[in-house]
Amino acid sequence: MHELSIATTLVNTLLDYQTKQEKIRKILEVYVRIGKLRAISIEQLAYSYDLLVNGTNLAGSKLVVEEIPAKINCPKCNFSDNFDMKGDSLHFAVPSLSCPRCETHLNLEGGEELQIAKIRVVGSAA
């Protein structure tokens, strides 16, 4: 449900940016990075985005999502891996911060990204 709040913030940020930049005629594509630890449904985010851009200067723009894995490493036995879950879907797997080798609490790096990486635009000479 919170995808709509996040999409609203995203759309407002982009519309603000577009208004301030004279060199942009139109935003074509919006590249966002979302960490796999975020409880964000990309499908719902994309759906909300499409609803929200309707009738704005962003209408017709495309949302491109890159998922960023989290890394785990063990401070004790140096085990390290991507924090990928079995089946690679939050809906079917349980994540664990317990080291598979020695059961120590793993350190987590990344996976919490929620960023606009870049936008692809059509320029304006004006």
């Binding site: 975020r38 939050l90 349980v94 320029g123």
Partner: protein, 227 residues
């Protein structure tokens, strides 16, 4: 020496990329840091309380207040979609409460907390409980500026409750398993829930509690550094 910087302008219709590297929830993150700064300046500890509807968040907060209010000056921020039922319950403990109704939103955010903090006399407080909207997914995405996270679950939510909502437990400091007086009737083993929690987050303090029978209330406070 005066240099005339060359200003590069796009030609009409040219397609190009602009790197932004902007956090989408930057505004919330900054407000959360600001809230945390304000709380720290006033020497206030803030505990974020999360869990499902009916897990016992309000009952636990109410019980903790009654054991802790000798030592701490406490206030509560109550988040709900609507109604003041929770704030009214807490008010019977004679501590300041602020009800935040989110309307249609499923979570509190840092801006709502900032407004709620403005309604409290921060100079007269040591401890604030922030009870989030009953929801196990959305609140995890919106930091508020608190110091610690307490997640409240209950045996009445069934044996698979933890594995079905793992993300809420990853950053929890303490997880209270409530209604253990009902575990036999529910056929739910609290020690199984405990193992599920520790598998996700080996650092979490897991405390079996019964708000009804005042079991585990003091231990829950202690696990959060509150004596």
């Amino acid at each position: 020496m005066v240099r005339n910087p060359e200003i590069i302008v796009p030609t009409e219709g040219e397609v190009f990329d602009i790197e932004l590297e902007t956090d989408i929830l930057k505004a919330n993150g900054e407000l959360a840091l600001e809230n945390h700064r304000i709380l720290t300046e006033h020497g206030i500890t803030a505990i974020d309380v999360m869990g499902s509807v009916g897990s016992g968040k309000t009952s636990l907060v109410k019980s903790m207040i009654s054991t802790l209010k000798k030592h701490y000056r406490i206030a509560v921020i109550e988040g709900d979609v609507t109604t003041t039922i929770d704030a009214d319950l807490i008010a019977s403990e004679n501590v300041p409460t602020v009800q935040v109704n989110t309307g249609k939103e499923c979570h509190l955010d840092a801006n709502l907390i900032k407004k709620a903090l403005a309604k409290l006399e921060l100079n007269t407080l040591d401890l604030i409980f922030i009870e989030n909207v009953g929801n196990l997914i959305c609140p995890a995405e919106f930091p508020l500026g608190s110091d610690k996270r307490l997640v409240v679950i209950s045996v009445t939510e069934g044996p698979y409750m933890v594995v079905k909502h793992p993300m809420m437990f990853i950053e929890a400091n303490t997880v209270a398993i409530n209604k253990i007086d009902l575990s036999a009737a529910m056929n739910v083993d609290p020690s199984k829930l405990r193992n599920d929690i520790l598998n996700i987050n080996p650092r979490a303090n897991v405390i079996p509690i019964s708000c009804k029978n005042s079991v585990g209330i003091v231990e829950t406070g202690k696990s959060l550094g509150l004596n």
